[in-house]
């Protein structure tokens, strides 16, 4: 379990990029849910924490691929492969993530361990 940040530092509508390898994006939706997914879009190397959060969807700032934060599945092209989702734990007003152990779907040219 990796600590992300104090809950107070992640207001609703905001994102936090966790600098692990590969990086993880943690989102606090307007509805108050907290989700963690891979930060790197599966289409091309771009940071989803810089993207646009709407409901449970995150839109990539580069080519407007959208992903459902609950499942990691792409809901709008050009991305075809899903993001991994990571379990979120909030304890003592701190946000933690439990990284997925599945292999990530990183875009071409990006490999884990090269960050």
């Amino acid at each position: 379990m990796i600590p992300v940040c104090p809950l107070a530092n992640l207001p609703r509508g905001e994102a936090h990029r966790l600098d692990v390898d590969p990086p993880i994006a943690v989102f606090h939706t307007e509805d108050g849910e907290i989700y963690a997914v891979d930060d790197t879009c599966t289409h091309q190397d771009a940071s989803l924490s810089d993207g646009w959060l709407e409901g449970c969807e995150i839109e990539c700032p580069l080519h407007a691929s959208s992903f459902d934060l609950r499942t990691g599945r792409p809901s709008s092209p050009p991305a075809k492969l899903p993001l991994r989702t990571h379990r979120v734990v909030v304890s003592d007003d701190t946000v933690y993530v439990v990284p997925s152990e599945e292999p990530p779907n990183l875009p071409p040219g990006v490999r884990a361990g090269t960050v």
Binding site: T40, A46, D50, G51, P61, H63, G109, V115
Partner: protein, 376 residues
Amino acid sequence: MTARSLPPSVIATLPGGHYTDENIFALEQTRIFESMWFCVARASDLGKPGAFRTVQVGRESVLVTRARDDSIRAFLNVCRHRGARIRTEESGEVKRAFQCPYHAWTYDLEGKLIAAPNLTKMPDLDRVEYGLVNVAVREWMGYVWVCLADEPPSFEVDVIGEATVRLGDERAIESYDIANLAVGRRIVYDVRANWKLIVENFMECYHCATIHPELTEVLPEFADGYAAQSFVGHGAEFGEEIRGFTVDGSAGVDRIPGVGEEQDRRYYAITIKPQVFVNLVPDHVIWHRMFPLAADRTIVECDWLFLKDVVDAGTDLGPSVELFHRVNEQDFAACERCQPAMSSRAYAQGGVLVPSEHHIGAFHDWVINRLGAGSG
């Protein structure tokens, strides 16, 4: 310029070459249009965050938009990566960001670089430093003004001051509540003439009785050949039979409430150098913005502004708009008639200004001064 010996009644214009020479135009671009406050758009053209316009200011294309916090921003329309134009349309709307169509460098509405392929692998690239280049912005009278200079001159002196000098009173223009009027009509004119010919034309009325039959009907004193923008605080009075500032003298629309009795039934004209002309009449305001594109080509965007209620009610604005639309067409035709002659041997040393045009000499001095500024 070689000094000419002229009879005392007349003074010299600029030599013909000042209206045709690309080098002189290039100097005007840098020392006038890119150095001064330049009126680019009506704030209502940028109705909501992400709405944008692209405008030509001197040599630069400028991208003007409204940010999330509702403030108006302006940037040089150039991607910081490899220099592609960010937007090429005259106007449009983006949802959230400006994205360069070449490599997808993406900027938010404040101009900050927010995304680019592999940007996360370049943490040393400062996102503000490599954001779009900001241009100074001011809003006044509901219009957006930009200044491309590193250190913009005083807006209060150069812009507000010009209007005050012409009207003789700081509050005179305030009474028209221009910021809260609505654009009832906009007409864009593509004029094949040098911008200075258009300024000079606007500053004198020696031509009025010859080319503006409708206008001189409404404003009889314009037929005397002496009306000019050299009088301070003087508004030309409507003719006795005239009911409104309309093409046929018929009644206009609802008067702007702030317009006082002394301003009623009168017409005021202001030139705000280098590219704005304003006409004030009791029930509307006519606001021209010039965009000089080449030595022999100028785009003029003209707005007819009325009370918002008048526009919203679908009132027939035709007779009001038609009057100055005709004046514009008559004036621009005259300017286009002069342009080809500017390169004639007959005009190599220029022409002459009669007494009611002598104040245009001050405009010429001003231009020459600006072109000389910082040279050598």
